[in-house]
Point group: C2
Chain length 243, copies 2
């Protein structure tokens, strides 16, 4: 059962598989829609065990790069997929959770990303994209809204702006950072007894940002989103979860 | 051998493990330095197989969140580690390689990140950090420099600026995007016969950026790095690798 230990030769073998796939993607030999060799063949080709191949495939799956097709068993069926932002979100959420990146750095990075997105959105948002933002703001005005619903809509508002900026990488990074903070924002909400006042302030911040985007005033939109983000964290008395 | 298929119940079981770890990190129950339960216990606790646990641990390892300690075998020994940027770099490199993010988006994102870093570096760089930048520029002036050496120093220059901005998340994202483009930049270099002229232009761009940072002129540093990045891609006749 040496094969089942989570370290040693197996760890190195797993790195060999990962590196081989990385190299093939970097050089364009492996593209979206291509299949990896079957587990048996791939293992033989690289001189590693089949479990090592399987673990590397799992890691690539977690990174959103491949998907194991159903029911293919030993003949492979692992396909390179058009990546989604889910993997980036998950990775940043984990790392922000572990404070790989200190919270003030994450907040500043968020300001940078959202200033950029707002500027682009003010220049490029389509009427349909403006409508989506309007709908989100309308939902946030519901008087009976719960903390969780408000937080979800808040996230949605920021993600819709990022989407309206039409840069997928910037939008995904924005989403990932906002999403990574979801839990702590909910914690902060739960600890407050002045929820109604807080919501009034947060809503006003959103409305101001939207006004600038709608009026195609990029510089003003950037200033307003920065003011909104910084004052939100101040309002939430930002601290790490103490649980 | 149903257990060895890369999909089906096992895929779901592996997600269960991943989600459990994610939740514990998000809520702060699992912190840097903590150990995951041993493979056997963890599997029993979550009602999944041991191979499922092992695969999830590999995925977490690939995301730079845990490290399997050597020689612990069935008793666990998987430790939550202070994350490194390597995982983020790898993930972005894979996704840019697969065009999850179109190259123009990646270039614009790079401009955004480096404008921000240059502005911060012009305000905050220490004398030691300025010395490091000076050394890198001096090395780039070596007349016999190879394409690969030049590209490595070019990357180093941009990473040193990002580091001098003192925001770890922004620095890591900058590094990851620059690194993800390494292979295509090398391809572009290789396809050119006017290497000497190209190097003169790239060097001038770097020197101009450094001058603004050294003189503590943030707005000018931001403008100059954007001009440098955009003209570099134009100079390299940016196209995706055709291999």
């Amino acid at each position: 059962m040496t094969d089942s230990t989570p370290s040693g030769p197996r760890a190195r073998a797993y790195e060999i598989v990962l590196s081989a796939v990385e190299r093939d993607i970097a050089t364009g030999r492996l593209r979206v829609g291509d299949r990896l060799p079957g587990e048996r063949d791939f293992a033989a080709q690289l001189g590693v065990s089949r479990p090592s191949v399987r673990e590397a495939v799992r890691a690539l799956e977690a990174m959103g790069v491949v998907r194991a097709a159903v029911g293919q068993g030993t003949d492979g069926g692992t396909i390179v997929i058009p990546g989604s932002s889910t993997a980036l979100t998950r990775l940043l959420r984990l790392h922000i959770g572990l404070s790989t990146f200190p919270m003030p750095d994450a907040i500043d990075a968020r300001v940078m990303l959202e200033r950029w997105s707002c500027r682009l959105a003010a220049q490029e948002a389509t009427p349909e994209e403006l409508d989506l933002l309007r709908e989100t703001l309308a939902s946030m005005r519901r008087p009976d809204i719960s903390h969780a619903e408000f937080n979800d809509l808040d996230t949605r508002f920021h993600v819709q702006i990022a989407d309206a900026g039409h840069n997928r990488l910037v939008a995904d990074m924005t989403t990932a950072i906002r999403d990574a903070m979801h839990w702590w924002i909910m914690q902060s909400f739960a600890q407050r007894d002045d929820w109604d006042d807080l919501v009034i302030e947060l809503r006003a911040g959103h409305e101001a940002v939207f006004e600038s985007i709608e009026a195609h005033r990029p510089a003003e939109a950037a200033e307003r989103v920065e003011a909104h983000i910084r004052s939100s964290y101040a309002l939430l008395h930002w601290t790490r979860g103490t649980d």
